[in-house]
Amino acid sequence: MRVAGWVSFFLTTFITVLAFQGLIGFSEQGPDWALLSDRYFHSILIFSIKQALLSALLSIVLAWPIARALYYLPMLPARRAFLALCLLCFVMPTLVLITGLVSLLGRSGVVSPLLIDVLGVDWNLYGLNGILLAHIYLNMPFAVRVLYQQLKSIPDSSWKLSLQLKFSRWQRLRIVEWQSLRSTALVLFGFIFVLCFNSFAIVLALGGGPKSTTLEVAIYQALKYDFNIPEALMLAWVQLLIAGGLFLMVSRFGRTQWLSVDTARDDWKPIPTGWRLWLMTCSYYVVWGALVLPVLALFAGVTQGDWLRLEWGALIKPTLITLGLGILSASCGMVLAYSMLSPIRQMNLLVQSRRRVMLEWLATHALVAPAMVMSVGLFIFLLPLVDIDRWGIVFVAILNTALIVPFAIQKLKPRLYQFDAQYNALTRSLKLKGRQRWTIEWPFIRPVVLSTYGLVLVLSMGDVAIFSIFGSNDWATLPWLIYGYAGTYRIAEASIASIVLLSLCALILWLFEKVQTSHA
């Protein structure tokens, strides 16, 4: 197992090294240092950081009361559905979200006149507004789930004790709630910051021009028209340094069980009453509405005639290809992630925290590496060696696998650490090895493995970026189809295909949730 782990490390790192080698080797030049004193560079750097900070902060601040409402009010209707929707939002293909947001809040959107006429604001979706909205839409629901899980892990003995000691509300918040959320909130902040810092499609589509450009978009621009590799490399190193450094810091200092395990049995906790109850209930419904609206907006663009006119047959093959590719990438990604965790778990047990953190960083580095550099670099590297027109689809699968590994690792890790903490000594003492050990470990990690599998499957099914570079039309996927429809202004078809994709994602998440709970 440990050998498999090191092999997996080698493979994923190798891909990144090849990608950078592709760019560096091709230009035979290093990064463009002069860029560091360019005013434009300063402005995009500041903007990248600003929007990521705001997105992460707002996502968490807004998620907090909702997570509390879910925790304190078990009688809220449709809580399970809400939590499922939260997961769906997090993995929603960006293309689908952008279509939804524009039809709601664009110049001619459904809600825009309300903002402009009723509230009297000078509303423009494009720019910081749109970027923040989209980022919050994707990440806030995710934060809700994580914070809610964390609140659930407060043992009821803590609540009983806090009541016995006659804590005030403020003391309860500070001593019980905050203590349990603190380190999770920090890691969550770092994670969302990195996701938003590296954001590409949303910034490109909703940024509204050079005023709101992120480093990732600037890399794309440098590579796309000017083929200015030194500038792209400089931007890439800066991005890697900032995002990677922050991520390293967070994984060093934040101890957390996020995306995590439900350890506690919630038997008892205080129930709010009066205006607090009312406020919590209201905010719950408001967020329900806000999350559902962009999805409903998809339906608004489709008439009954469109449903009848669409050639459904044309959707079947792309759907099957999307599923097939997704299953392939998700399966490989899970195996890689599990293998890579093997040496990491070993170090965790031996309390070698510095080496462990470095290795964890390496395992999840694809999260912070500039995706544009990864795909373009690999493309340049491979083009002279492989017939990409024919074999491109293989690389779509490989790159997608590399990109989902960090998510799989982050989600599997806490459960495996928990297993080790509780049972490592016992399994060794009982001399359980190989297959026998696996038969003990499997039922313990099964629910998490299944839900992780569902998550990474849906994530990889949403890809169109990698496909646009390596894919070929013979293998068109559903998101690629949506992209093509949108590109030819066939909004009704794009909406229908989006609805199909979204339903498929929802179905998969639901299915995995179902299998996971039925055997728990």
Partner: protein
């Protein structure tokens, strides 16, 4: 991290019609198992089901009794980039669809060879004598408006920039119309360009990555004017029977975009490649291109749909490819600082 990259570069631009007609079923690469006698790199919308590619391929194959193959990449710039990466290993004999602004860059990297075609019958106004590149269609950049909404369009670029009408245009770094506007502003404003960009940015709704985002937002009513081509109205008339979309004619003159083809340096089938280039400027191919790619033909004397005669025919202004190649990087930097202010 997966959240980031969902929309990627599909296009810049090149005429509106191409994009609207682009069929998803034939978006990208057409891969055949056996290598063809002649391989042509082009951009994706050119070979879409309703683009000129399939018809051209059929016509040329009948003429030469050979097998030709189009390989499509995203757009004109990508053709150049792919050639830069592949260099001598390229499969391409011919590249088709880079524009005049890229000519000097392509040439200076030693990627093409002279075509040796005697150029007769090309429109005089094109004033064409390039030894490596052959033009196959062209159009003028122009601002399109809805004449049902706007009664009195501006008659000069200055008037538009100093008005407060909402405008959408494309990023000069990623889109050819965007670059066209950059040249246009530079030609007219010269040293005062950055002030003009600042002025324009005050009533710009958004600057998009590519042509379709801008044009589709305009059609949804998000702006009064959108940057496109003088040929755009023809598409609405011919395929949608809508005559309200018009191109505004500016008194200072318009910058043109000329799409060109050339033989790659690595090609070992130069005679056949040359035959293909000659075929491209024949009346048969020119008619196919004009009415499927929705751009103006490069030769005189074709019979085309009546609407082509109604298109605006502005005075042509601009820079030579050499001037563009020399100054582009500097102008882009000037634009990006002015537009971020």
């Amino acid at each position: 991290m997966l959240v980031f990259l969902d929309i990627l570069p599909l296009d810049p631009d090149l005429a509106l019609m191409k994009k609207q007609l682009l069929a998803i079923s034939s978006l990208l690469l057409s891969t055949s198992v056996l290598a063809a006698d002649l391989t042509v790199y082009t951009y994706d919308s050119f070979v879409s089901e309703w683009g000129p590619g399939p018809k051209l391929e059929k016509a040329f194959e009948t003429e030469c009794q050979c097998d030709m193959e189009f390989i499509a990449v995203e757009d004109g710039v990508s053709i150049l980039n792919r050639l830069r990466i592949e260099k001598a290993n390229t499969k391409a004999d011919v590249i088709l669809g880079v524009d005049d602004a890229l000519i000097e860059i392509t040439r200076s990297e030693g990627l093409v060879q002279s075509h040796d075609v005697t150029l007769t019958g090309l429109k005089k106004e094109l004033n064409w004598d390039d030894v490596d590149f052959i033009p196959f269609d062209y159009g003028f950049f122009a601002f399109i408006y809805n004449s049902q909404k706007i009664m009195r369009p501006p008659t000069s670029l200055k008037e538009l920039i100093e008005s407060d009408a909402s405008v959408i245009y494309q990023d000069p770094r990623t889109s050819t119309p965007g670059q066209g506007l950059m040249l246009w502003v530079k030609r007219i404003y010269g040293e005062q360009s950055d002030a003009a960009w600042e002025k324009l940015s005050q009533h710009t709704v958004t600057v998009t990555k590519g042509w379709w985002e801008a044009y589709s937002m305009f059609l949804k009513g998000d702006a009064d004017y959108v940057l496109s081509y003088n040929t755009s109205p023809a598409y609405h008339v011919v395929t949608e029977n809508k005559s309200q979309y018009k191109a505004a004619e500016f008194s200072e003159g318009h910058v043109a975009q000329i799409e060109v083809a050339a033989i790659t340096k690595a090609s070992t089938r130069k005679p056949l490649a040359k035959t293909f280039l000659m075929f491209l400027i024949s009346p048969e191919a020119q008619r196919i291109i004009a009415t499927n790619n929705w751009m103006l033909p490069v030769i005189d004397g074709l019979t085309l749909p009546a609407v082509f005669a109604e298109l605006i025919t502005p005075k042509r202004i601009g820079f030579t490819p050499q001037e563009v190649a020399d100054n582009r990087a500097f102008w882009v930097r000037e634009w990006r600082s002015a537009a971020t202010r």
